[in-house]
Amino acid sequence: MSNKGGTAVPLLAARDLVKAHGRTQALRGASVELHAGEILAVTGASGSGKSTLLHCLTGIVRPDAGSVSYGGERLDQLPEKRLSELRRTEFGVVFQFGQLIPELTALDNVALPLLLAGVRRQEAQATAGEWLERFGVRGQEELRPGEMSGGQAQRVALARALITGPKVVFADEPTGALDSLASEQVMTALVHTARESGTAVLLITHDAQVAAYADREVRLSDGALAPVGVTA
């Protein structure tokens, strides 16, 4: 299913990441590889540096030391403009909540990445409609995020993250605010779509049941990563 530790060149690779927030050492030498089409779970207790790792991997923050390579480019050295472009075209990001623009309808929120890429509004909306249907939120096109349930909003967020056909989707506790049934619907939608389109997923979670949707798990503790599944 995936290239577990295989010889293939990883899609995204971080080496010895170090990052401090003030006096708090969030990452101390974290290394991780993500292969094309793979679903990888990063688990760890709260405060173990999971979110900081995601921020480093997406180029939202620059690590104090270490490297992040993606498709031959060093993300930790790229200018902000190129990073924004990568996040817009090659990456999709889903957070626990907040990434949808509260004033825009579900349809416009999903169409937004296409609009940013210069696609005409009608065309973007038509494509967005298809994606909403795919995630089972048809009929909610005209709702604003505040008018949707948490599970619906997260599926809209997933549609928005996947509409540009990204190579990697980063999901930071995507079901953190949901009950178990909504969480199951969101995760199933994510896993099915990612498998169909061959999108790699980096899934950050503290929940073992969510991590079980992944092909592989790495565990962060004290700012460093250890693979899970290798018998000690």
């Binding site: 509260p102 825009l104 416009d108 940013l116």
Partner: protein
């Protein structure tokens, strides 16, 4: 619990909460102090001038304050300056409102009564206003003594009344503003609610101003030139207030209309976001925008009137009809110009503060959107468009209104000068519009800070 002990507990709590609050709450306190100081300064100057009766040789501004007629005009201008100052104070009260509401709801959860919470919050505002009024008084008293060796008891009483009245008013306004917030222990807002459209108060005010304007217009003041000179600004200001209150509606209504129309037609991401925000919450900036319009009307009207009046005065001088030095009149005009400029600056700060606060209350969402790939430039453009779109038609209407004042004044002032249209006034709306965009743009550095990943940690 005795009420004295209750108050002292409240004061101590208010102080402790203010001290433990974050940066933005200090901004609110600082700006409230500044606003209260301005209000006290203007009101004290007005009160002292109003306490004078008859002729005095004050020796400032080429004798403009020497005679009761002109003094009344100055007093009136000072009181009118209170309008933008109060608007500014209203705007500062909104800074960090979400945080404050959450904190007050926390107090309710811990067992505080609604009234106690309201008192604590109002005391915060009241204490800041007290500090502001004390600072203003500390400056005003030496200035007063330097011009007037023995001020009358009436002047002193007025000064004291203003210095104490401003903080009391601030406390009352603070309690009023919070009447809805603290009713429930779980009353903290997840999302900033859309602002309400203005209600009956504004309607009554508008009718009042209309009546005032009509009465003034129908008064035969041209018979006595000095009386006329004092009354013209009154007429102008009454008209201006009328236009201003209409502007609140115009601004809110045009925001919502523009939002609806543009949201369906927008082709850029920034345009779409701005249009949907206007449609969602058209009244949020209506009051600030109305103040902008007020200043635009006053400014445009004033520049027109000034041009005509100067031409008229020159005409009078050339035939030897001028009663006073030319400087007497120009100083009066310059002082009015200065007052309008002060008003403009206050309005622009209110606009900047409003934009910054709207940004700050949305910073978590903005950080998440930026992280999800919405470029900062798009968010910035949306922010500017949100101010620029509804202000454009509004400033246009205000400019037309101001221009009408100038043209009307030119049409009735034909005795010593030929009838000409004061075109220079047309530059005023343009300049105000540019200043507004600049004021809104002062929030862009804050946007850069708001979309930092550190904000994501609290998402």
């Amino acid at each position: 619990m005795s009420s004295a002990a209750g108050i002292s507990v409240d004061v101590r709590l208010a102080w402790r909460l203010t001290r433990g609050s974050d940066r933005r709450e200090w901004w609110r306190v600082g700006l409230t102090v500044a606003g209260a100081a301005l209000a006290t300064g203007f009101a004290q100057a007005a009160v002292v001038l109003a306490s004078l009766d008859g002729h005095y040789a004050i020796g400032v501004a080429h004798g403009l304050l020497d005679n009761p007629g002109e003094r009344h005009g100055v007093v009136f201008s000072l009181l009118l300056l209170l309008v933008p100052v109060l608007g500014f104070l209203g705007q500062t009260a909104r800074i960090g409102a979400v945080h404050r509401d959450r904190r007050l709801a926390g107090l309710r959860l811990a067992g505080a009564t609604p009234w106690q919470v309201r008192r604590i919050a109002a005391l915060e505002t009241g204490l800041a206003c007290l500090l502001g009024s004390m600072l203003a008084a500390a400056v005003a008293v030496p200035i007063l003594l330097s011009y007037w060796a023995g001020p009358s008891a009436l002047a002193w009483a007025g000064m004291v009344a203003v210095a104490l009245g401003v903080p009391m008013l601030g406390t009352a306004v603070g309690a009023l503003a919070l009447r809805r917030v603290v009713a429930s222990p779980l009353g903290w807002v997840r999302r900033v609610r859309p602002a309400q459209r203005p209600g009956r108060v504004l309607l009554v005010a508008t009718l009042l101003f209309t009546a005032l304007a009509l009465v003034t217009l129908l008064t035969p003041f041209t018979a006595n030139p000095l009386f006329g000179f004092a009354l013209v600004p009154l007429t102008v200001f009454a008209l201006v207030l009328l236009v201003g209150s209409a502007a609140v509606w115009l601004s809110g209504w045009s925001s919502s209309l523009l939002g609806r129309v543009l949201a369906d037609r927008a082709h850029s991401a920034a345009g779409l976001i701005a249009a949907e925000r206007l449609r969602d919450d058209p009244w949020s900036a209506a009051r600030t925008h109305a103040a902008v319009l007020l200043v635009t009307v006053v400014g445009t009207g004033f520049v027109g009137v000034r041009q005509v009046m100067l031409a008229d005065l020159r005409g009078m001088r050339s035939v030897g009809q001028l009663g006073m030095d030319m400087e007497f009149y120009t100083t009066g005009l310059d002082l009015t110009a200065a007052a309008i400029t002060v008003g403009l600056v206050i309005v622009l700060s209110a606009l900047a503060v409003g934009t910054a606060e709207s940004l700050a209350s949305r910073r978590q969402g903005l950080a998440a959107q930026a992280a999800a790939g919405v470029p900062r430039a798009v968010l910035g453009r949306a922010l500017l468009l949100e101010s620029a779109l509804p202000l454009a038609p509004a400033v246009l209407v205000a400019g037309t209104g101001g221009m009408a004042i100038g043209v009307w004044y030119a049409s009735i002032t034909t005795e010593y000068t030929t009838h000409n249209v004061p075109y220079a006034a047309l530059l005023v709306p343009l300049a105000v519009y540019m200043c507004c965009l600049l004021a809104a743009a002062t929030s862009l550095p804050l946007l850069r800070r708001s979309v930092r990943p550190a904000e994501l940690r609290y998402v």
